[in-house]
């Protein structure tokens, strides 16, 4: 029988589900044509409530397994809960005015975000393959739908289709991997599997095939090379706030799964796979972004590169505390800055997302200094300039890599982060060093958008100036993770 503590361990998910379903019902009751802004505000409160629930859940007495070893609440899960929920909150806020502006003002949007967040939250706390799979599917399917939310726009539909087809394709690989892992270890519990793989003197070769396939599936979700290939197309076509959402929250959750499934089932053979994936991702992402002319597409490549940096942290997970805490910190920082950047892009997008070319940002520094300054800040954070979260994120990652003596990986990484500064700089250059284009409008920043930007700005700054608290928290996670 589930105990009260068990329910608290899934309290954020419950809150989100209830809220999401309520949104759905209200949506059904609202007459068509009526503004859904209020509904969005309501949904935002749902995200806030879930954050509160997570905070409540984070108390030490609730740490532990729950619901028949299906999930586990610990620093790790709570941390990713926070990331997902804050991203969800920011996404909802930035969508409040975006949706009516794009004439897709449907309440389902908010419900999908909230319910999708359930999946992502569960991904971070699930320790059972079945639950992980279902959670992954929830997050994926909601993302597929959200990507196609501007369904009258061909790009949006195409983005959705591509995401869906390739996502399902990758999921099948993942699933096959899970099946083989189940066959090879006889268990579907992550901790049991880790124990089996860790102790058995002779691991069944099937297990290697299994983890390889699981890595394929998850690598696809986190968009690391060579499974990154869907990212630019999908990000370009999807609505901007959705990109903000799906480039961060499901990704962070997928990283959480990757950590739980791959890193925790520590196999020495991982190292070079991750190493190569990291190098490939960084290079492909940074080089690919150079020639892009669409901001969203460019940031899609950038997200590949950032997945690469994160993989550097994984590669150094032989020192658990360093590698995993660095990866966690990176996820948080990346979420904060990327959401911020996409918030500004959303603001700039204009009706039908017409204005997402780099050219459209010409002279933004003159037209709208504050917006330009904010975007510059996020871009600098993505480059990794000090006093931004992006800097400390990179710092922790490379410091972990160096402490585990991954000299070359670090050198490639820092070289990449230097090289990568070029394309972010291009956007900054456009904003400040080019004359404004008259045809591009700069709509006023509404309250919701302002809040969304403020949240990500504060988070990025906070992570950049006072990273202590967060880092301390992340450093608690690996120890718990390791105690099977």
């Amino acid at each position: 029988m589930p105990t009260a503590a068990d329910y608290i361990r899934i309290l954020p998910e419950i809150v989100l589900s209830v809220w999401g379903m309520t949104v759905m019902f209200i949506e059904a009751l609202l007459p068509p044509g009526r503004s859904r802004k209020g509904l969005g505000v309501f949904a935002a409160f749902g995200a806030v409530a879930a954050i509160a629930a997570t905070a409540y859940q984070a108390q030490p007495q609730f740490v532990g397994f729950g619901l028949n070893q299906m999930l586990r609440v610990d620093h790790f899960s709570v941390f990713f809960h926070f990331i997902v929920l804050f991203v969800a909150l920011a996404t909802i806020l930035m969508s409040l005015d975006y949706l009516p502006f794009q004439k897709i003002d449907h309440g389902e949007y908010y419900a999908l975000i909230l319910l999708g967040a359930v999946g992502m939250c569960l991904m971070s706390s699930a320790v059972e393959l079945v639950l992980i799979f279902i959670a992954l599917e929830i997050s994926s399917i909601s993302s597929y739908i959200l990507a196609g939310f501007r369904r009258n726009a061909a790009e949006s539909a195409e983005s959705s289709l591509k995401y869906f087809l390739l996502g399902s394709f990758a999921t099948a690989f993942f699933l096959y991997g899970v099946a083989l892992l189940y066959g090879a270890t006889g268990s579907t519990n992550v901790f049991d599997i880790a124990a089996t793989l860790g102790n058995a003197a002779h691991i069944e070769p099937l297990a290697y095939v299994a983890v390889a396939l699981i890595f394929t599936g998850l690598g696809f979700k986190v968009a690391c090379a060579p499974f990154h290939i869907w990212t630019p197309d999908v990000y370009e076509g999807a609505p901007s706030p959705v990109v903000a959402f799906m480039s961060t929250a499901p990704k962070a959750a997928a990283f959480a799964v990757l950590i739980r499934l791959v890193i925790d089932t520590a196999s020495p053979h991982w190292f070079w796979v991750i190493w190569i994936a990291a190098v490939l991702s960084m290079c492909v992402g940074n080089l690919g972004a150079i020639l892009q002319s669409n901001v969203k597409r460019m940031l899609a490549y950038s997200s590949i590169a950032h997945a690469g940096y994160l993989m550097v942290a994984f590669a150094s997970a032989s020192n658990r505390e360093l590698g995993i805490s660095a990866a966690m910190f990176y996820s948080a920082a990346y979420a904060a800055m990327n959401v911020g950047a996409f918030a500004v892009i959303t603001q700039m997008a204009g009706s039908g997302e017409r204005f997402s070319q780099i050219d459209d940002y010409s002279g933004l520094g003159k037209r709208s200094p504050l917006l330009a300054a904010v975007l510059t800040f996020f871009l600098l954070s993505l480059i990794g300039i000090p006093i931004t979260g992006g800097f400390f994120a990179k710092f922790y990652v490379f410091s972990a890599a160096l402490r585990t003596h991954l000299i070359w990986l670090t050198i490639i990484g820092v070289a990449n982060s230097g090289m990568g500064s070029y394309y972010y700089l291009r956007l900054i250059v456009r904003m400040y060093m080019f004359e404004p284009r008259t045809e591009t409008p700069t709509p006023k920043v509404q309250l919701g958008m302002g809040l969304a930007i403020a949240i990500s700005l504060i988070a990025t700054l906070w992570l950049g100036v006072l990273p202590n608290a967060i880092l301390h928290y992340t450093q608690g996670a690996p120890t718990i993770l390791a105690s099977h």
């Binding site: 289709l161 591509k162 087809l165 390739l166 394709f169 990758a170 690989f173 691991i203 070769p205 297990a207 290697y208 095939v209 983890v211 390889a212 396939l213 890595f215 394929t216 690598g219 696809f220 060579p226 499974f227 290939i229 869907w230 630019p232 197309d233 053979h269 070079w272 796979v273 492909v284 080089l287 690919g288 972004a289 150079i290 020639l291 892009q292 090289m419 070029y422």
Partner: protein, 670 residues
């Protein structure tokens, strides 16, 4: 070393007074009337001369050999330090008096000469500025401070040569002078570094003290290196081969400048340096020999060019180069006192010659070509007579000043332990040529008929054109001429009976090779006159040599008279017959062209085409840009994979999965 107890007449005043003049004129002169500018310049220069006289008097009567005062540290780095200090001994005393004295006279002269030029205040600022640096040079108590003056006079020279900066030739000449001097300074600098490295100090007293413990270097050693490098510096400043090229061009400057800087004072700085460094040179016979050879060569070489030149100032310029060569030769045979003696007399008569030439140029409206002069004697008698005195002096005709110093040099070249008959022979030939071209100048300029066109046709220099007839210069210009004329006569008398040598003996460290070889101990500093031990027959020899030199001087005069008075058509015929040689000499052996074609041109070409356009832009920056292009190419390849086709993407995913699977299985089952 003693310090003088004079409350007001501190030695630092000597250089600082002209500086004050320069600053006042420089900062406010633009708003001053010309008379005030001139007064300021004259006052401060005169005061400096006065101060110099006072200090000369005090020093001579104090009985001290030298006076050294330090006014605090200038540069300090670790253990190494350099002071602002003044060192006054008999050598610097002579230099100081020459500089301030002749300098003052030239200032006076300039007041009138520059009357009609623009930039009056600028001129006097620069001139005072020059005085300051020149006095710093001669009064410094260490080599670095000497270097300050050394570079400073170079700057002043640069500014004054380029005074008529609207003329490209003037601007070019100034730049050429500065850069050529810098080449010399390069050597000087290295010499300083060697001194620092091996002596740990640049103070004269300390350096010479240490140097006195060195034995004479029979093969090249550290002192030789220092000496040779100093020689490079001296060559630059004193216009010796191969760095003499700037001096003739420097005649682009106003004539008083030529007189002061490029004849009387600055160019003798190299001689001063060599003499000042005699404790080093005397122990480095190889360096000394190099000095002598360069001096001899230069004196001869410049004299040949001087014969053919037609520009009055250029003749004087080459004569200066030649006379400086004389001084070097003297220094090179360790006859430092003779060298300084000639330096002094040369200052008088060469300044006089230049001022006279200036007076001529002034009088005929800016023309400098001797072929367009002639017969000026009747228009400007004062100028003629004073210049004639100077010409006698430079030709070495007794009892004019040049005779004594020149004769001393020739005798020393002949008889000194470092000397050689070859040097003497070169000196005699040069003396002959000197006499010849100097009288050629006199005859061409002052005798015969005036060949100049009406003066207003010569408005090239633009400022004297209100005079239509050649005319005598104002008294303000003539007074210095007369004074210098007197000095050119009597200036040499101080050398009679080796008095000058005695006077300088405290400055010259005596180094005897035999003594060194035998005992290898420190050189004695006891003043022994070189001539004191000479035997009677040596006296006979000396007198006969003197007779030869006088004879040579008169034969030069005679030849000049023959060519330019008696048979004026002859020179052009000879020139026509020996056309190749004549052209060669007339064009100064094509040395300027050679430098330009062999050094400057290739250097600029190399810098522009090879270094900048090829290496910098194509290789370095090109590779930087290429790497950017390469990044773009890679980016393009990566983009191309993004074909937009779902099935391709799936292909990537499948292939990636296969690769990961293959790797994992391979690793796992190994």
């Amino acid at each position: 070393m003693t310090s003088l107890n004079l409350p007001f007449w501190q030695p630092w005043l000597i250089p600082i007074l002209p500086l004050a003049g320069a600053l006042i004129n420089g900062l406010f002169g633009k708003r001053f009337p010309k008379s005030l500018v001139a007064s300021v310049a004259l006052f401060f220069t005169g005061a400096s001369f006065l101060a110099a006289c006072v200090h000369a008097y005090v020093l001579m009567h104090s009985g001290a050999e030298a006076l050294e005062v330090s006014y605090g540290t200038w540069i300090r780095a670790g253990k190494f330090s350099v002071d602002f200090g003044i060192y006054l001994d008999h050598l610097s005393l002579i230099m100081m008096l020459v500089v301030t004295g002749v300098g003052f006279l030239i200032h006076v002269y300039s007041v009138a000469y520059m009357e009609h030029e623009g930039g009056y205040y600028r001129f006097f600022t620069y001139l005072n500025f020059f005085m300051f640096f020149m006095l710093t040079l001669v009064l410094a108590n260490n080599y670095l401070l000497m270097f300050v003056g050394w570079e400073g006079v170079g700057l002043a020279s640069y500014l004054l040569i380029g005074f008529f900066f609207l003329r490209d030739s003037a601007a070019n000449a100034g730049k050429k002078a500065f850069i050529t001097n810098r080449v010399g300074d390069f050597g000087f600098l290295i010499a300083l570094f060697l001194l620092i490295q091996h002596f740990g100090t640049l103070r004269y007293a300390a350096v010479f003290d240490v140097a006195s413990h060195f034995s004479v270097e029979t093969s090249a050693g550290i002192l030789t290196a220092i000496g040779l490098l100093m020689l490079v510096g001296a060559c630059g400043k004193s216009a010796q081969i191969p760095l003499y090229v700037w001096l003739p061009d420097a005649m682009e400057g106003p004539t008083p400048v030529s007189a002061l800087i490029h004849a009387a004072t600055m160019v003798t700085a190299g001689v001063y340096m060599v003499c000042r460094s005699n404790p080093i040179f005397s122990r480095a016979p190889i360096a000394l020999l190099a000095v002598a050879i360069i001096g001899a060569l230069t004196s001869f070489f410049a004299a040949t060019i001087g014969i053919t030149q037609t520009d009055i100032k250029r003749v004087l310029a080459y004569s200066t180069v030649s006379q400086l060569g004389y001084m070097f030769m003297a220094a090179g045979v360790a006859a430092y006192s003779a060298s300084v003696f000639h330096l002094m007399t040369h200052a008088f008569f060469k300044a006089l010659l230049f001022l006279g030439a200036g007076s001529v140029i002034h009088g005929i409206g800016g023309e400098q070509d001797m072929r367009k002069m002639g017969g000026l004697r009747k228009y400007m008698p004062w100028t003629f007579w004073t210049m004639l005195i100077a010409t006698f002096a430079i030709s070495g005709i007794p009892p004019f000043a040049g005779f004594f110093s020149k004769d001393e040099i020739l005798w020393q070249a002949f008889s000194s332990t470092h000397g050689s008959k070859i040097f003497w022979a070169v000196g005699i030939i040069t003396a002959f040529m000197t006499s010849f071209y100097m009288f050629r100048l006199i005859f061409l300029t002052f005798t015969g008929e005036y060949r100049g066109a009406p003066a207003d046709a010569h408005s090239a220099h633009g400022s004297h054109d209100d005079h239509h007839e050649p005319h005598e210069s104002p008294w303000l210009m003539l007074a210095p001429l007369v004074l210098l004329g007197v000095l050119s006569i009597v200036g040499g008398w101080v050398g009679i009976g080796n008095r000058f040598e005695h006077f300088l003996s405290p400055v010259i460290q005596k180094v005897s090779i035999e003594q060194n070889a035998a005992q290898n101990n420190e050189a004695t500093a006891t003043p022994i006159s070189e001539g004191a031990g000479a035997a009677g027959e040596s006296k006979v020899l000396e007198n006969s040599l003197m007779a030869v030199s006088v004879l040579v001087a008169f034969s030069g005069l005679g030849l000049a008279w023959f060519f330019y008075m008696k048979r004026p058509e002859l020179p052009s015929r000879i020139a026509a017959r020996t056309e190749g040689l004549y052209k060669l000499v007339l064009n100064k052996y094509w040395i300027d062209e050679l430098y330009s074609a062999a050094i400057i041109g290739p250097l600029v070409w190399f810098s522009r085409v090879i270094l900048w356009q090829t290496f910098d832009q194509k290789v370095i920056d090109g590779s930087v840009n290429k790497s950017a292009v390469a990044a773009r190419d890679v980016s393009q390849i990566i983009r191309q994979q993004q074909s937009g086709l779902v099935r391709s993407y799936a292909g990537w995913v499948a292939a990636g999965a296969a690769a990961v699977v293959a790797y994992m299985v391979w690793m796992g089952t190994r």
